[in-house]
């Protein structure tokens, strides 16, 4: 009886999780703009500086990008044009991702800036700061 309850409970739990997946990402933690500003401070986006690829100088500009939703609604291709070649990976090649801090070493907290496209893969739907490290595989 306990086993059946466990299996049914698990089914409902997974069912619930699956519904949640539709709106969020599997195993993804995002930082709120206010938190990011507290952590890194804030400087206006300088596209030329961002494009140079210096990971020491990108975090505070990333705060500006998410805080002001600078690219939301704009073409994805414009992001690539203005910020340079994406140099990180999040979930799919259709999501542009940029490293915003130097690699701190294995299993240490690291964040990157991700541009999530709309359904047609044309315009930016959301821009978020995503935690890149240290998740656990559930299966």
């Amino acid at each position: 009886m306990k086993k059946i309850a466990l299996v049914i409970g698990s089914l409902f739990f997974i069912l619930f999780s699956v519904f949640c997946l539709a709106d969020t990402f599997f195993q993804a933690e995002f930082m709120k703009p206010a938190e990011a500003e507290k952590k890194w401070g804030f400087k206006l986006l300088n596209k030329d500086l961002f494009r140079t690829g210096d990971h020491n100088k990108r975090a505070w500009m990333a705060v500006d990008v998410v805080k002001k939703n600078i690219y939301v609604g704009k073409p994805m291709k414009l992001v690539r044009q203005e910020l340079g070649e994406p140099d990180s990976y999040f979930f799919s090649d259709t999501i542009y991702a940029y490293k915003i801090m130097p690699f701190p070493g294995e299993n240490k907290e690291i964040w990157h800036l991700v541009f999530i496209p709309d359904e047609n893969l044309e315009n930016v739907k959301e821009v978020k700061i995503h935690k890149k490290c240290c998740y656990k595989l559930p299966f």
């Binding site: 466990l6 699956v18 990976y89 999501i95 893969l121 959301e126």
Partner: protein, 225 residues
């Protein structure tokens, strides 16, 4: 609560099966779909009214009761097809998910495994680097094992139908997918299949420069981590 991985996978499949199946309960009757089409009713504001006054016969007398369903805009074929829509899917991937939701789930699970494997071996992973090549190799290998070479290719090609990608990036991914798929087939036919062996094979291919890498520079581990 400790749950073993195989049990977890079985439960996930069970839930997705239920979701895929439950969609059929809300589909209109096939005869009614034909009746509706023959009536040339247009979807829109007056659809239900126009549908309800269509003439019926012995085979279609139940159809006016299904006008609400018939007038709904065409939805995904299954609930699963809808709920596993993620942002960032290519149009080709969306079509595939609708067509084969169960296989799409397998593809999703194997993609997560490949990302995990890549992250473990290349913690500094980025784009177009060794980690990227490794991830594509592993995903293609796992998909080939789980779905067979033909279906695996269908999912991999759908993923590469990405308008936001440069041609050079697409070529790199497709090249590494092909090598990953072939390596998996070789491991299977030699009865040496294991994820560890697939990872070994990916690292060997990277070291011997048999994989395409646009932005090299990451350190390649000697053995899988």
């Amino acid at each position: 609560m400790k749950m073993s991985s195989p049990l977890m996978v079985i439960i996930i499949y069970a839930v997705f099966f239920i979701f895929s199946f439950s969609a059929h309960c809300t589909q209109p009757d096939a005869d009614c779909i034909n009746w509706f089409k023959a009536g040339k009713v247009k979807l829109g504001k007056d659809c239900e009214l126009d549908c309800a006054i269509l003439s019926t016969d012995m085979g279609t007398f139940i159809c006016p009761d299904q006008c609400e369903l018939l007038c709904k805009p065409k939805m995904s074929k299954s609930i699963l097809g809808k709920i596993i829509y993620y942002p960032g899917l290519t149009p080709a991937e969306r079509k595939l998910i609708e067509k084969s939701p169960e296989d799409a789930l397998t593809a999703f699970i194997q993609k997560t495994r490949a990302e995990w494997s890549s992250n473990r071996n290349f913690p500094e992973q980025g784009l177009n680097d060794e980690a990227d090549a490794f991830r594509h190799f592993i995903w293609a290998g796992l998909l080939t094992k789980e779905l067979g070479p033909e279906k695996a290719k269908e999912f991999l090609n759908a993923h590469e139908a990405n308008p936001l990608q440069l041609d050079s990036e697409r070529e790199m991914d497709q090249f590494n997918n092909n090598i990953g798929g072939s390596s998996a087939q070789m491991l299977i036919s030699n009865k040496k299949w294991s994820i560890e062996n697939l990872e070994k094979s990916a690292l060997d291919s990277l070291r011997s420069k048999n994989l395409r890498v646009l932005n090299p520079g990451l350190k390649i581990p000697e053995v899988p981590k």
